[in-house]
């Protein structure tokens, strides 16, 4: 499905050069579909006068763009210094032990996924995490399992 034409035109109009709208348009697609679809890539390429390969090249540089449908519950745990010192690695190990789902994996039914991320600028709440894009912390093994079972909202 192509992007909403009005929204896309509005975004492109904010910039002196259309190509600057590349990341915002990819975000627009990811927000709507949960990930960047082939259709979004093709549509963005067409709107910005870029080759599909060029769009893919930029897209693949940025770690936050997903290329596959996401799980319903997405837990991203920070592994950078302050969070690792406060036990984020142990939490991930415990989650894997209990659920069989390790970092970078999704549950077989697609209900949840576990990711590791680098510093998310929430070191004061270490171990910090993002749950469905919402930043919070500190995470405990119990809290992580609760979130993955769909029992918490992930608020601070």
């Amino acid at each position: 499905m192509a992007l909403d034409a009005r929204e896309a035109t509005d975004i492109i109009g904010r910039y002196p050069s259309p190509r600057s709208a590349l990341l915002p348009l990819l975000w627009l697609g990811q927000h709507r579909d949960g990930y960047v679809t082939e259709d979004t890539v093709a549509d963005v390429a067409l709107r910005l006068g870029m080759a599909v390969a060029e769009v893919e090249s930029v897209l693949s540089f940025y770690s936050m763009f997903r290329r596959r449908p996401p799980a319903r519950c997405r837990l991203e745990v920070c592994r950078s210094l302050a969070c690792a010192m406060k036990g984020s690695g142990e939490i991930l190990a415990r989650v894997q032990e209990e659920t069989g789902v390790g970092p970078g994996e999704s549950s077989a039914d697609g209900a949840f996924s576990v990711e590791v991320v680098e510093c998310i600028a929430a070191c004061d709440h270490a171990p910090a995490y993002l749950f469905n894009e919402r930043m919070a912390g500190p995470l405990t093994p119990e809290k992580a399992l609760e979130l993955l079972r769909g029992e918490g909202e992930g608020r601070r």
Binding site: P16, L81, V117, E118
Partner: protein, 429 residues
């Protein structure tokens, strides 16, 4: 003592609301500038203030502005809100809790530098910050504070909130421009410097969010007022992000020149009960460690340089006796390897080698000579061999740890369990 300039009211008032921000004096500096000052006057106040960049380098803000060529081409301002240094989280607080201050500072800077467009680049992970700031800009636009003919004057400026999508390197001032142009975030060759040829090849100023937020107070109270706060060469306040092994991790705005000891022991509540300070990384993962003997060093750009470390963005990571110097080095190396953009060989290859060596040392498989191998890697990667400083930053802590705690590295060469962890276990028995 003046302590809170940028964080004043945060936690007490909902400053994300324009009416609340204005009721507390917000946008009066902009009003003052547009009704009583020329762009040159605003520039002069910032020059008098001696404001230095808060993003890390500590370069004079007015000096950067003064290098813009007078050639009539469009000029751009980029606010760097790609805060990604492990241990730094002060920018996020400003964006989420005081967005109108950031915006007002940006408008003043744009006025001083005669710019018609401002881009606020936020790292992709700041979902909430992007929403708050976008709403703040929209609210300000409705009130006639953003857009054409601001407050009825001839001055107009457009503000665009632009989100990154997960790349540490985009906090680097040339990579941020590439990213804004819709490209991979690779650093550019300098010269030309951004003020000569930046975004779309036009003169561009890139300032950190906290630097820009300071412009409001400077215009409101005068550059001389600001210059009189704290040390002569590093005036003003700094928001320090304290994390790690302290009782009260968080952001603390201190007057420049406050001793590091006061920040850790008083503001952050000291170390967790029963533990002793081992070292501090004062500017996130990229800085040389500071030992307890240097704890009375004043927190300002020059004093921190004098102990061969840096103030940088003041993301203070506090480590105690439980933290093995090798473990911290491994965590840092993993980060830099992940974040190297891959453009320059010493950084792309070197960060991977460093991580592999530290990974095996950390996991009981160290080999004789690994300490020397790390030293060789530090020499091979560091020394400004690349387009940007990511590679240099990746070995700054490592080098300092190798010289401060050589015995911990040598112990890890032997394989087997970590001696620091073993000592902690014995102590807890």
């Amino acid at each position: 003592m003046i302590r809170r300039i940028l964080t004043d009211g945060i936690g007490e008032f909902d400053l994300t609301r324009l009416d609340v921000y204005r009721a507390r004096g917000g946008f009066q500096a902009l009003h003052k500038a547009l009704t009583t000052m020329s762009p040159q006057d605003v520039f002069n106040e910032v020059k008098t203030s001696n404001l230095r960049g808060r993003g890390g380098a500590g370069a004079g803000a007015a000096f950067k502005w003064s290098t813009l060529p007078e050639d009539g081409r469009p000029r751009y301002l980029i606010l760097n809100g790609d805060e990604s240094e492990p241990g730094s989280f002060s920018g996020r607080m400003l964006i989420e809790k005081n967005p109108h201050l950031v915006l007002e500072g940006a408008l003043l800077a744009a006025y001083a530098c005669k710019m018609a467009r401002v881009f606020i680049y936020l790292r992709g992970e700041f979902h909430e910050g992007a929403q708050i700031l976008t709403r703040a800009v929209a609210e300000a636009r409705e009130a006639g504070l953003v857009g054409p003919r601001i407050l009825g004057s001839e001055f107009g400026v457009e503000v665009v909130v632009h989100r990154g999508a997960g790349a540490y390197i985009c906090g680097e001032e040339t990579a941020i421009m590439e990213s804004l142009e819709g490209k991979r975030g690779h650093p550019r060759t300098r010269p030309p410097f951004p003020t000569a040829s930046g975004l779309y090849g036009m003169p561009t100023v890139i300032n950190n969010v906290e630097t820009i937020a300071n412009v409001v107070g400077i215009v409101a109270n005068g550059g001389a007022w600001f210059a009189a706060i704290g040390p002569e060469k590093s005036p003003g306040t700094k928001i320090c992000s304290v994390s790690g092994r302290v009782r009260r991790p968080g952001n603390y705005e201190i007057q420049m020149g406050t001793p590091l000891r006061e920040l850790i022991e008083e503001h952050a509540g000291g170390l967790e009960p029963g533990h002793q300070l081992k070292f501090v990384l004062p500017a996130g993962a990229s800085s040389a460690l500071v030992l307890p003997k240097d704890l009375d060093t004043p927190l300002d750009f020059d004093s921190m340089m004098s102990i061969r470390s840096m103030l940088g963005s003041a993301g203070m990571l506090v480590c105690d006796e439980r933290d093995c110097a090798v473990h911290v080095a491994y965590l840092g190396s993993r980060f830099y390897h992940h974040e190297s953009c891959g453009k320059c060989t010493p950084c792309r290859e070197g960060t991977g080698w460093t991580e592999r060596v530290l990974h095996r040392m950390e996991h009981g498989a160290g080999r004789p000579g690994d300490t020397e191998r790390l030293q060789a890697l530090c020499r091979g990667i560091g020394g400004r061999k690349c387009l940007c400083l990511l590679g240099d930053f990746s070995v700054t802590y490592l080098q300092s740890a190798l010289s401060a705690f050589p015995e911990e590295f040598v112990a890890h060469e032997q394989g087997g369990p970590c001696p620091v962890a073993a000592a902690v276990e014995v102590a807890n028995r």
